[in-house]
């Protein structure tokens, strides 16, 4: 198993729950869901941020994707609540 260096970025209340806007982690995840499982093990603040996946959206390398998307080659994964622009 090889690990991949991934920049994880957080926005809005996800950022507030995690406690910081960005970090680089070493991950063995192949999908977004596996990455979330790794993040949940990093502490109670992560468990709180990722408690309800239905309340989250994810972008891999700045493109909106679903939770079963691949992250093996990704350099940046972003987690955030549903967008409220306009």
């Amino acid at each position: 198993m090889t690990s991949n260096q991934i920049d994880i970025v957080y926005f809005a209340w996800v950022r507030e729950r995690v406690g910081h806007p960005r970090e680089r982690i070493s991950s063995r995840a192949t999908t977004v869901m596996e990455l979330i499982d790794e993040l949940r093990l990093m502490g109670p603040e992560y468990e709180a941020a990722f408690a309800d996946i239905a309340a989250l959206r994810v972008a891999v390398d700045q493109q909106l994707v679903t939770f079963d998307a691949q992250v093996g080659e990704a350099s940046e994964v972003a987690f955030f609540p549903p967008m409220t622009g306009g």
Binding site: W13, A59, Q62, F80, P81, M83, T84, G86
Partner: protein
């Protein structure tokens, strides 16, 4: 086609005037301007808008491209602010020009629906003694269905 993501205020009237001058020989210009609104018993005093700088412009540009593929549009302008905004300030505007009005109306509506729920912006409302992130609305999500787009 112009997409501007900025923290600075803008003047929607001036922007419309410039857009209309530059767009040339068209029969229709449709614009929408979003304004910070105060409501309720403990009204909003200000908004903070966060965005995802690495993604925002590209995401909005893809929406503009999708609108141009779908309708016969001459020109488009999208301005969206981030940072701290106060009551009465302009949050964002969309302007679309075309030969006939139906294209401009529909393309502007399409862009607004996508900007609401697919552009990476998040609003936080500040009221006296409290602040809360705005929840995404089901009606906004449902509004996207009518377009049946891959975006």
């Amino acid at each position: 086609m112009t997409v501007r993501i900025q923290s600075e205020p803008f003047d929607a009237g001036q922007e419309l005037s410039r857009f209309t001058t530059q767009t040339g020989n068209v029969g229709a210009v449709v614009t929408f301007t979003g304004i910070v609104r105060s409501d309720g018993d403990n009204p909003v005093t200000k908004l903070m808008i966060e965005h995802y700088p690495a993604m925002t412009e590209r995401a909005v540009a893809l929406m503009v491209d999708a609108a141009r593929e779908r309708w016969s549009v001459t020109d488009c302008l999208v301005i969206h602010r981030f940072g701290e905004l106060h009551i009465g300030e302009e949050i964002m505007m969309v302007a679309v020009s075309s030969a006939h009005r139906a294209d401009s109306f529909e393309a502007a509506q399409f862009l607004m629906d996508y900007l609401k729920s697919r552009a990476p912006f998040w609003k936080k409302e500040f009221r006296t003694g409290t602040a809360a992130w705005v929840d995404g609305k089901l009606e906004d999500e449902n509004a996207l269905r009518q377009w049946d787009s891959e975006l």
